[in-house]
Structures are given as structure tokens and as C-alpha cells.
């Protein structure tokens, strides 16, 4: 991409930036200046390369050498050894457990099973340069569509490709377009849904930050197909860089005449503006999002009418997800058949996932549809970190469900996941090890949904609160027989009766954990015991007298002074006042303090006495 002899690509995705990528870039500029190499080496700031766990990462072309966990101190060595003497620095390359070294990016196992379509340029070009995007074939698809195709032709291509909405629902993309295309209204709108609210998901963020022109191009092709002339990017306020980059991309495209009036000499004109969200999860739902753009509270409205009929300002509107737009230019460049050749019968192409949780290689990945969970977690993700065992994987955020070991060979596609009570969702994959309590996880998601419920319809507003109360009761040791059944009854009712997708899917995490981890709920309720020692009321701390050396450090650090003893007698915890802060365990020099599952008998006895007392009082 330049006449300089070396291209140095530094990943400046959010992960690498917070582990210090910008400092490294500064340092490179300094060192190159000192050594007079400024004219020979090209420093490019790219979007997310994917393997965030190895960050800060960089790739050096022409060879494609991959360096991980680079620090500013390493810069000088890279310049003198690699750039000047031509000897890549082996110690910064990735090594596996058998000490095999992977020198180039292509060899790195993390990339082996990945196929990059939407992410093709992410981590490869400078996202702020339209020239680099054009150099990789950017805006070629738009040109072809505008000069050689009719809107209906374009819709047919997408129909043939089998592309489905990447925001979670999996609705066939062409169908939305066709509905709006067939509508004769004079004004039509197109919206890019960048309100990535699912906790544990950062695909859209990385795409908008790493390759904004691709999204813009995809949006313009869609707009042409359905006859819209103005569009809105709705991006959440938590993503300031994404907002900046897309605004920058719009300005650049306008400058080159790739946006605005009669693009490529055709009759098609298009303009887009950016609107920012203000922190409401429900705004990811399309009707709520439309209300938010209109400056209202982001409440969803009942469908029908669908946005395709009556959307923004009452006009036909298509709302597509960022990643959906990201696939479109490549489909037109490489053909619908090529795209449809990847994936399964019903789910075509690739999907971007944010792999996080207790695995080795956390980061951003793009894999063909139909890959198994096992391949994704163990091959791409590198398996579990810290020698722990795999317990569950949560897909689809607060609307999704947990799957377990028995599902590891399930292919990842819309239908297979749905059948098993999970869902594709927007692409957040959170892998959990055997230290996680599933009741607590379910409570976490319920707490999220209760907090984010807009309050418009009662099943969601009141029902979810009831579910949360029951979960809180179970997790604090007051669970009773029948609670599980009550959760299931409520969950099913809420799924059926809620107005929008948030309420309809909110019970999923609870229902799926009950389905696959029922025994955990039962031991919380019956035995008052949390096997993973996560739920504080259902575990206690214990000092092993054989190990205790009587140093009194724990007693001194205890905030409620509930540890007593002496050098000879050793120390014991008075269980009743203990607040389970864990300080004693942290400070013990000989590891005599341990966590034990189950409520301590003394605490249980006290609680029983209290309930009896209140019963007597009631009578």
C-alpha cells in the first residue's frame, strides 16, 4: 500500500489501545526518527486484529510477521534487529505449550479456522483512510450495483446469497428490502443499528471502528435496492471512537463524491447522519430505536405495523445490523453463490463472534456458520484458561441461553441453537469454567433485564421482577420447594405475553439454566449449598487449625472482628457476624483459611429460629 519497504500494522482496536498500543506507536515514531528510517517504514494504525488477549499486537509486512504483547521497551530491538538487520525478533512471536513458534500471522492457530468476510479489512487497513479502503476493492461493489443493476436485481442477489440478519433475529435480509422496495411511498429511510447493547458483545464496535467505509458502502447498496435516500447510523454513546470514525468516513465519502447527489453518475442520491444512543438496552429493538431517533423515550411499539410499512416518521424503514451491512459489499464482489457455499442449509456465510470469558484467546473472531461450539471454544479460543474445566457457554446475551458440555458438538447456526434453548443473538459468546454458579449467572441476567425493562408492558415490568425476587431468595438461602416450578411458570408466561423481544427472551437464561443445571438450583434450595462457593449465603469460611500458625493477621484484618483466638489455641471464625468479605483468606500467609460450600449449621439454625418466631407472631 506504499512505496516504503516495510508496512508496520499496529492494532489500535480498543483492546490493544488499553494495553498500550498508542504508546508503542509513539515510540516507533521516535525511534524511526532517530535512526533516519522514516522514509522506509510505513506505520499504519489498524482496527481490531482479533486476538485481544495477546495485545498489543502488530503485523509486519511484506512477510506478515506477527508480534504479541509488545511493550515500548521492545521497540528499539524490533527496529534494529528486524527493520535494519532483517532478523525478526523471535521472543516476541507466539509460542504454544510445546514451544513451537508461529512467526507469521497466517500460522497463528487463532486464525486457522476463521474465514473473514465482514472483518476482511479489520486489522489490515487504516480505518481513517478511504484510499486504503478503495485499494482493497472498496466502493467497487457500489459502483457495479449503481451502474449495472436495477434495485430488484440487487435484491435478487441478496436473496440468492441467503444472508440473514446478523443482529440476532435471523430474519432474511432480502425480505425486509423487498417489503420496503414494493412500498410506493415517496420517502423511505434506512437505519444502521449500532446500539450493541448485549453485555459481552463487541462485534459491531470493532467493525465500525475498524472498517467504517464497508458499513457505509453496505448501507448505500441497501438504500439503492429499496429506494431510500437518507439513512441514520444509531450508535450507542459508549462507543465514542466508533461514532467519530463513521462521521469521518461519511465526510470522506462525500468529499470524493461517493456519497451525495447522483453517485457514480447514476440517478441515486444518498445522505446519512449519525445519531447517538443514550444508554438504554431496549433501544436495540427496532421500534424502540426508531422512537429514540425521533427524540422520544425508547419504548417499543407493537408490531404490526412493521417498520417496513410504518417506521421512522411513519415512513417505510429498514433497520439492519452493522454486521449485516458489513457482508453486503463482499457478496456483490464475490457473488451470491460464493457466499451461499459457506455455512449450513439454512444459515449461510460467516458470523462474527466476540469470544470472552474463561478461555485463553479472548477476542474477535469470524467463522463459517455451522462450525461446532467445540471448534470455536477449543480450536479458535484455545481452550479453557488456568487449567479449569469447561462448564457452560452463554450465547446471545441476556436474551440467549446457556449450553453445556453435551452441546459442544452442536453446529452454530440459527436453527440448531434455537432448538436447544440458546440463540445466535448478536454474537456474544461467554465461556464459563467450573467455578461459576449457574444460579448466580441466571440472576445476573435477570437483574440486567429488570434494570433495562422499559416498563411499558406489565409481563416484562412486573413478571421479571418476580422472577428476580425468587432468584434472589434462592441465592440468599431462603429458597423453598416449588420455586423452580414457579420460575418456569412465570418464564413461560412472560415469553408469550411480552410486547417486544426484550421481554419475550428475558426468561431464556433462567429457563435454560434450569433445563441443564437443575441439580444446582435444587442444592441451593434444599441443601442450602452452593457447590461453586459463589453465593455468599450458601458458603462459609473455615480456618484449618492444623495449618493455622496463630499469627493473628486474619483477626486484625477482619472488618467485623469476628475472628478470635490466640497463638496457642489458634484462630476460629464466629460464623454469625461474618460478612464473608474474604479478607482473612487473602491475608493468611499459610493458606489456612478456605471456602467451604454450604451454609454454616449455626447460621442455618439461627435462621430457622427466626422463621419460627415470625410464624408464631403471625398466628
Amino acid at each position: 500500500m506504499s512505496l516504503k519497504r516495510i508496512d508496520l500494522l499496529i492494532c489500535c482496536g480498543s483492546g490493544c489501545v488499553s494495553s498500550g498500543a498508542l504508546k508503542i506507536k509513539e515510540r516507533f515514531h521516535e525511534v524511526l526518527q532517530e535512526k533516519g528510517l522514516v522514509n522506509e517504514i510505513n506505520i499504519i494504525e489498524t482496527g481490531c486484529m482479533g486476538p485481544c488477549d495477546y495485545g498489543p499486537v502488530m503485523v509486519i509486512y511484506p512477510e506478515g510477521i506477527f508480534y504479541k504483547k509488545v511493550t515500548p521497551e521492545d521497540v528499539e530491538e524490533i527496529v534494529s534487529d528486524h527493520f535494519i538487520k532483517g532478523r525478526p525478533v523471535a521472543r516476541l512471536m507466539l509460542q504454544d505449550e510445546e514451544e513451537k513458534t508461529f512467526s507469521t500471522q497466517k500460522e497463528v492457530p487463532f486464525y486457522q479456522k476463521q474465514v473473514k468476510v465482514a472483518l476482511a479489512n479489520c486489522g489490515y487497513i487504516d480505518p481513517e483512510s478511504i484510499d486504503e479502503y478503495i485499494a482493497t476493492g472498496g466502493y467497487e461493489a457500489l459502483g457495479t450495483v449503481l451502474t449495472t443493476m436495477s434495485p430488484q436485481d440487487a435484491i435478487e442477489v441478496i436473496k440468492k446469497s441467503g444472508l440473514r440478519g446478523r443482529g440476532g433475529g435471523g430474519f432474511p435480509t432480502y425480505l425486509k428490502w423487498q417489503m420496503v422496495h414494493d412500498n410506493q411511498a415517496e420517502e423511505k429511510y434506512i437505519i444502521c443499528n449500532g446500539d450493541e447493547g448485549d453485555p459481552g458483545a463487541f462485534m459491531d464496535r470493532s467493525l465500525l471502528e475498524g472498517d467504517p467505509h464497508r458499513i457505509l458502502e453496505g448501507m448505500m447498496i441497501s438504500a439503492f435496492a429499496m429506494g431510500a435516500t437518507s439513512g441514520f447510523f444509531y450508535i450507542r454513546a459508549e462507543y465514542p471512537l466508533a461514532i467519530k470514525r463513521i462521521k469521518h468516513a461519511i465526510a470522506q465519502a462525500k468529499e470524493l463524491g461517493l456519497m451525495g447527489r447522483s453517485i457514480f453518475g447514476s440517478k441515486f442520491s444518498f445522505d446519512a447522519e449519525v445519531r447517538t444512543g443514550a444508554g438504554a438496552f431496549v433501544c436495540g429493538e427496532e421500534t424502540a430505536l426508531i422512537n429514540s431517533i425521533e427524540g422520544q423515550r425508547g419504548n417499543p411499539t407493537p408490531k404490526p405495523p412493521y417498520p417496513a410499512v410504518q417506521g421512522l416518521w411513519g415512513k417505510p424503514t429498514v433497520v439492519n445490523n452493522v454486521e449485516t451491512y458489513g457482508n453486503i459489499p463482499t457478496i456483490f464482489l464475490k457473488g451470491a453463490d460464493w457466499f451461499a457455499s459457506m455455512g449450513t442449509e439454512t444459515s449461510k456465510g460467516t458470523k462474527v463472534f466476540a469470544l470472552t470469558g474463561d478461555i485463553r484467546n479472548t477476542g474477535l473472531v469470524e467463522v463459517p456458520m455451522g462450525i461446532t461450539l467445540r471448534e470455536m471454544i477449543f480450536d479458535v479460543g484455545g481452550g479453557m484458561s488456568g487449567g479449569h474445566k469447561f462448564k457452560a457457554v452463554q450465547l446471545g446475551g441476556p436474551s440467549g441461553g446457556c449450553l453445556t458440555t453435551q452441546h459442544l458438538d452442536v453446529p452454530v447456526d440459527y436453527e440448531s441453537l434455537k432448538e436447544r434453548g440458546a440463540m445466535m443473538g448478536s454474537g456474544g459468546v461467554i465461556v464459563m469454567n467450573d467455578e461459576k454458579c449457574m444460579v448466580n449467572v441466571a440472576k445476573f441476567f435477570m437483574d440486567f433485564c429488570v434494570d433495562e425493562s422499559c416498563g411499558k408492558c406489565s409481563p416484562c415490568r412486573i413478571g421479571l421482577k418476580q422472577m428476580l425476587d425468587i432468584l434472589t431468595r434462592i441465592d440468599s438461602g431462603y429458597g423453598k420447594e416449588g420455586d423452580i416450578e414457579e420460575l418456569q411458570r412465570l418464564g413461560e408466561a412472560i415469553s408469550k405475553l411480552s410486547l417486544c423481544g426484550l421481554g419475550q427472551s428475558a426468561p431464556n437464561p433462567v429457563l435454560s439454566t434450569i433445563r441443564f443445571f437443575r441439580e444446582e438450583y435444587e442444592s441451593h434450595i434444599r441443601d442450602k449449598s452452593c457447590a461453586t462457593k459463589v453465593c455468599l449465603d450458601l458458603m462459609h469460611f473455615h480456618i484449618d487449625k492444623n495449618r493455622c500458625i496463630g499469627c493473628s493477621l486474619c483477626a486484625k484484618k477482619c472488618p467485623v472482628s469476628c475472628i478470635s483466638g490466640s497463638r496457642d489455641e489458634k484462630y476460629t471464625i464466629n460464623q454469625l457476624p461474618c460478612v464473608k468479605c474474604g479478607n482473612c483468606m487473602d491475608v493468611c500467609p499459610v493458606k489456612a483459611v478456605t471456602k467451604v460450600p454450604g451454609m454454616h449449621p449455626e447460621v442455618a439454625a439461627k435462621r430457622l429460629a427466626e422463621t419460627k418466631l415470625s410464624h408464631n407472631y403471625d398466628e
Binding site: V17, P199, F202, E238, R275, A278, G295, I430
Partner: protein
Amino acid sequence: MTPASTKHNELYDRLKAVIEEKKDLRNPLIEILRTAQEIFGYLPIEVQEFIANEMDIPASKIYGVVTFYNFFSMKPRGKYMLNVCTGTACYVKGASRLIQMISDYLHVGMGETTKDNLFTMSAVRCVGACSLAPVFVIGEDTFGRIENKDKIADILKNYK
């Protein structure tokens, strides 16, 4: 609007200019509220009423919007918002412990502001930096993989 200090009026003048500028956009309310919050630091009832008058829309509607979105606050906030991510990935990697550590260090609870008005600690739902979990954000800076209090102290001392 009792304290008619000059600084106060200046802020309202700035807000008025912003409203003038954005008035003709289609439905600019949320964008205007965002700028208003940048100017005043928060959105007290007086500011909401001012916007209502300027834009000629009911104050109740503005109140409805302000209370709906997490981003808007009706309470004064510190110079820096310290947002701890409580998304799923951070939860799995110990966000609750991180909150406890920050809270111990700054002596504030969730939603509270430090005595020197420097930091307000609040929780956000996922900032999309999941691979660095657990994380917190100050302004546009993300800090990840926080394992101990020393690291927190190191970071926070740079904010004055």
C-alpha cells in the same frame, strides 16, 4: 435559577446557542440534552425547563426522556465519570470485586461522588472491551485487567 452569577448566565447562553443551532434538525431533543449535560455537568429541572421554553415543547416530555436514558443524570456529578463495566464478561471475570476495590479506594458507593468532586462512580452495561475484563472507563480511556488496588491507585492518580 436563583444564583444569577455571571458564570451561570454564560452557561445558559451557550445552551441557547446550541439550541438555536440544532433547532432545525429533525427531532434533535436527545442531541440537545446531551450537549446540555456537557455544559452543565448534569440536567437539573431548571435546565430542562429552560430547554422546554426555548424549544416550545412540554417540560414533562423532556423529563420523560431524561429519566428514561441512563446517560442523563439529574444529580450533580464529579469531574470524571468512573464507569465500571458490569457486562457479562466482566461479571464472569470479577466485576463485583473490582467495584469493591474502587469503592474502598475512593470511599464512595455506586452512583456517589467523591468529597473532592473528582470522581463519580457508576456502573455501565458493557463497554465492548470484554477481552480485557474486568474493565472500567474514565472518559474515553478504558482500563482493563485490573487485579489489585495498586493498579487502581496508579491509574487514578493521573486524574486531577
